[in-house]
Symmetry: C2
Subunit: 197 residues, 2 copies
């Protein structure tokens, strides 16, 4: 469950962003993906957004007629993945997760209905994948859903060994702008579909 980190992120966003390189190095995966997606939008390349955090609102105050303040709400389990959008006419959908492990990625990071969702997207001719960052190794991978499903089918393990990821996922090189140029990898996946629409 990534709710505590979700909250942390929201609190962080109130801290003014500086252009200091050292500070940028301290960005987490979500911040970097948001920055990258904004870059893609700015250059009119792709329109991919992070969905708002799903919450259940249970109490709302109206201090004035046109103003509402949520006074009680709870984080709920997302039915889908965090990111989706459009690129070259393709529906793009992915989940992004960080792992502190240096040897494997625990499947408990992904909800079963998120796996089912990725599978549905794949089946309906979208492009879906996981972005996994091993924070201790400073390595970020794009694992296509197709390869992820092969692992789930063939293995009983509760985590994906780094070795499998190295063989079946694409390493995404760090950049400056965009920080995570994952669309370069998506271009390769699009080639499998027969090119630009």
């Amino acid at each position: 469950m990534n709710y505590p980190s979700g909250i942390k992120k929201i609190n962080r966003s109130t801290i003014p962003i500086t252009t200091d390189t050292y500070k940028n190095r301290g960005m987490n995966l979500e911040d970097e993906l948001n920055q990258s997606n904004k870059f893609y939008r700015d250059i009119d390349k792709a329109f991919i957004y992070k969905k708002p955090t799903p919450i259940k609102i249970t109490k709302v105050d109206y201090p004035s007629r046109d103003r509402a303040v949520i006074k009680e709400a709870f984080f709920t389990i997302p039915s889908t993945t965090d990111y989706n959008g459009i690129y070259k006419g393709y529906y793009i959908d992915f989940e992004a997760k960080e792992s502190k492990s240096t040897t494997s990625f625990a499947l408990s990071n992904i909800h079963p209905h998120q796996i089912k969702h990725l599978e549905n997207i794949e089946k309906h001719k979208g492009i879906s994948f996981l972005i996994i960052r091993f924070t201790s190794l400073n390595e970020t991978y794009l694992l296509p859903t197709k390869n992820f499903l092969v692992f789930l089918k063939e293995s009983e393990r509760k985590s994906i060994p780094l070795d499998f990821i190295k063989k079946n996922a694409y390493l995404i090189k760090d950049g400056y702008n965009p920080r995570i140029d994952y669309l370069k990898i998506v271009d390769k996946l699009i080639e499998d579909f027969g090119g630009t629409r």
Copy 2:
């Protein structure tokens, strides 16, 4: 601004849903679209979801280690539209609004950046549109972005006359399940793209 209605809807969702036909008649557009999208998912036809309501969280309590309660949050202006997903390999994106008017649809219902978003989707070969319900007339229309943009370009008016909508949008017939079978209209839009992917 549709925040008050957004809040109402969330409160409503705590009321148990019955299968009573009269109750169903009282469903609002959002409820009916959610039901229709669930139906499409259940029959493996399309995977289209409403995005969570965007909020800015400013205060969170932790009554226990693994439990977080949001104690203060505010509704924020959405950057995109409310609904998106995949159908027949196409990226689908739309906004849905109710109007009490019997003569026109006020453009103030749609944020300028939502219009820009619909335009971007269209340009990048997605299928985007507005679903507009005239509640007093009990008529629901699907207005393709292309036609919506023609109106914006050619008119200085601050609302779209019903007459323009009747000529340039598709009337969606009421149904039982799905309540709003808007994919029937999307099929027509897909034909313009050259058919199923």
